[in-house]
């Protein structure tokens, strides 16, 4: 029987899983209770981490799309697709955790203010990216159009990030030009959660890319046998 070797991906999975356990411990047992909002503020750590990884995933999509358009190497199209899918998972998590936090502090889960509105637009843009891919049969055309879309769609990311700085918003602003408005221990826990979710993203990306590679192998064998 074939036994798979323990590889870098397995090591990354293990580190990411351990980091998640430590992050949960830090969020619930080490981070101080916020004076005004109370325990609901503990949503903040993973809410910000999920949003950060969402941005990172879409930055990877942008970079992979640019490289694909320059070189035409289909592997970069697979990186972009994989990263969009994972980015959507984290964007959704950021939005949903934010809705719980909003309900507890503002009294309603959704307010059409700049950050939330641009987050919804960002989510729709990348959901449309996935739908676009499904609607195009020809692989070459699909990869080219998706890459162009991936480059243009990225414009929404800095707008989403800057929305609370450019326009009057209800959404809190934790980091600005004067620094972080957080207690040092809260900031340390936040940084740990961001690193944890970044590791989780890297681990998921490796698994998702393996899936694409296997899919390509299946298509190749089917073509061979059909010929």
């Amino acid at each position: 029987m074939h036994r798979r070797r323990f590889g870098v991906g397995d090591l990354l999975d293990g580190i990411a899983a351990a980091a998640v356990a430590v992050a949960l411990f830090l969020v619930f047992l080490v981070a101080p209770r916020e004076a005004v909002m109370g325990d609901i503020q503990r949503v903040f750590y993973f809410h910000v981490a999920a949003a950060w990884v969402g941005y990172l995933a879409l930055l990877v999509v942008f970079a992979a799309a640019v490289v694909y358009l320059l070189r035409g190497d289909r592997r970069w199209d697979r990186v972009a697709l994989s990263s969009v899918e994972i980015g959507m998972v984290f964007l959704t998590e950021g939005i949903v955790t934010g809705m719980f936090w909003a309900k507890a502090t503002w009294g309603k889960p959704w307010v059409w203010e700049p950050r939330l509105t641009t987050s919804a637009v960002l989510w729709v843009i990348y959901a449309a990216y996935l739908l676009l891919r499904r609607s195009i049969e020809d692989p070459g055309r699909r990869a080219r159009l998706s890459a162009v879309y991936g480059v243009l769609g990225f414009v929404a990311v800095p707008i989403n990030f800057m929305a609370i700085r450019w326009w009057r918003a209800v959404h809190p602003l934790v980091f600005d030009s004067s620094g972080a408005h957080l207690a040092p221990l809260m900031l340390a826990v936040l940084i740990f959660c961001v690193v944890t979710f970044t590791l989780l993203y890297a681990s998921l990306l490796l698994h998702r890319l393996r899936l694409e590679w296997m899919s390509e192998q299946v298509r190749h064998l089917r073509r061979q046998q059909g010929a």
């Binding site: 609901i40 949503v43 998972v89 949903v96 698994h207 393996r210 296997m214 299946v218 064998l221 046998q225």
Partner: protein, 48 residues
């Protein structure tokens, strides 16, 4: 406290849901690859 619990429940449900979906797709493709490889090997065998 209910909102905090709800937020974390949904967060990890989405994460694990996605991890399981990748696992299920990998398993399905692995089986398909195995089937296609066996089929290719059977076709390569010289007929008596």
């Amino acid at each position: 406290m209910a909102y905090l619990f709800g937020a974390y429940l949904v967060l990890w449900a989405i994460t694990f849901g996605y991890v399981f979906s990748i696992g299920a797709r990998q398993k399905r493709l692995q089986q398909e690859l195995q089937r296609l490889r066996e089929q290719a090997e059977a076709e390569d065998q010289p007929t008596p």
